[in-house]
């Protein structure tokens, strides 16, 4: 049996010194998708940031592909994290933003910025300054990283925010294709979405 892509063992997490997640454990294997749900403040974003290696749990262990995650050495070749913020420099065009990433990232991208932006329907706006794009267009540029880099684990925080119906459908197809390629997805969303695979739902309680 293959190793799980992600193993979370008894993690506790704090935000601004308040405990938001207590003793959470789960694992994600190839082809699986996990949806984190719960009301505002239940710690969905905090969990995703911990899984990405951006914050360290107070207790417990997060391992990707059997390797413990630390915030000093993000294993960029095993994860792509799409957070709340789009992560784009407003005074650069979408293509310039992606080209910069493709030049500095390790490992190198599997597709170039032009083709990825074309796939996402942003061919005509790839040279426009990001500051002039709509919220939905910025979100699509942010999602371009999913197609540009090859990583088995996708961590998606409210990925459907600001997307129109066709873009939402395209993201659902991208998730399906990723799961077919034996990838795994952990996402936090309040929206309903369609997925070919069965979605495992984790409902997070609010810790008072």
């Amino acid at each position: 049996m293959s190793k799980p892509i992600l193993e979370v063992t008894n993690i506790s997490l704090s935000r601004a010194q308040n405990l938001v997640v207590r003793d959470l454990s789960f694992s994600v294997s190839s082809g699986e998708i996990i949806q984190l749900s719960g009301s505002n403040g239940s710690g969905k974003t905090t969990i995703l940031r911990a899984l990405a290696g951006l914050i360290m749990p107070d207790n417990g262990r997060v391992a990707r592909l059997g390797e413990k995650v630390g915030n000093t050495t993000p294993s960029s070749n095993s994860v792509i994290y799409i957070g709340h913020r789009h992560g784009l420099e407003e005074n650069l065009s979408p293509l310039e933003n992606l080209n910069f990433l493709s030049q500095v990232s390790t490992p190198s991208p599997i597709r170039d910025g032009v083709s990825v932006l074309g796939t996402l329907g942003l061919k005509t706006s790839m040279h426009v300054l990001t500051t002039r794009l709509s919220a939905g267009q910025k979100q699509r540029v942010s999602l371009a990283r999913l197609l540009m880099f090859d990583a088995p684990l996708w961590l998606l925080d409210e990925p459907f925010t600001a997307l129109d119906t066709s873009s939402k459908k395209q993201l659902e197809n991208m998730i399906d294709a990723h799961l077919d390629r034996k990838g795994a997805v952990v996402l936090a969303t309040h929206q309903t979405f369609n997925c070919k695979s069965q979605v495992i739902n984790y409902s997070l309680p609010v810790i008072v």
Binding site: L54, H86, G87, N91, F100, V104
Partner: protein, 225 residues
């Protein structure tokens, strides 16, 4: 073949490109620098030779403050937009990103201020040797400020009152540069070769180039956590 590693080149050109599209970031420090220098003569008594003897010190002080003020913006936009997070998770070498950011900051703030010091110093009646020493010390000193300041800017980005904290934390590092930089120019105006001061400034630059980018990388990781 390029002079710097690819990550440094790409980071620097990204910094320059985004700043030239929002040029107020370049002009504010320069305007501040010029304004301080044009206002100062009105505030001192009209004693012959007084201004000439303190001009290099005033030029250095104005340059130091202008560069300190410009440091706050170095990581601010990237932190707020989440771009810093994306860069970190992309597996980019943060040490080289720190060097690229510092180099971009120096080209945008330190270099123009050092070059602008030449015509301003000439207008303030500084002699030719003093002007050259002033420009050289400002170039070395501002490069050191960009490298050291980048690490403190990364450490204070996103904090409430971070701008004030940044100035308070950078000044102790910058004061020795001010002392040796202005002293070099003053000695040059007296006809003394400022060898010791130039060695000190060169040494400080090499030390900051060796240490500061690692501190910047670590500070980015701390702030993102």
């Amino acid at each position: 073949m390029t002079l710097f590693p690819r990550t440094v080149n790409e980071t620097t050109s990204r910094e320059l490109r985004k700043t030239f599209r929002n040029p107020s970031e370049i002009f504010y420090p320069l305007i501040f620098f010029v304004l301080v220098l044009t206002m100062f003569p009105f505030a001192i008594p009209p004693v012959p030779g007084l201004f000439n003897s303190i001009a290099s010190g005033i030029l250095w002080t104005a340059a130091l403050l202008a560069i300190s003020l410009s440091l706050e913006t170095l990581f601010k936009a990237d932190y707020r937009s989440g771009a810093l997070e994306v860069i970190h998770l992309s597996g980019a070498d943060l040490v080289l990103v720190g060097v690229g950011k510092s180099l971009g900051h120096w080209i945008i703030s330190g270099l123009p201020i050092a070059l602008l010091a030449f015509p301003i110093g000439w207008a303030l009646d500084l002699n030719f040797l003093t002007l050259w020493v002033l420009v050289l010390t400002l170039m070395l000193g501002s490069a050191t400020m960009s490298l050291t300041g980048a690490s403190i800017s990364a450490l204070t980005v996103g904090l409430r009152g971070g701008g004030f904290l940044l100035v308070m934390l950078t000044l102790p590092f910058f004061v020795p540069l001010l002392i040796f930089g202005s002293s070099a120019a003053t000695n040059a105006s007296l006809g003394i070769v400022p060898e010791a001061e130039l060695y000190f400034l060169g040494g400080m630059f090499v030390l900051s180039l060796t240490v500061a980018p690692w501190a910047t990388a670590h500070a980015i990781r701390i702030r993102l956590g």
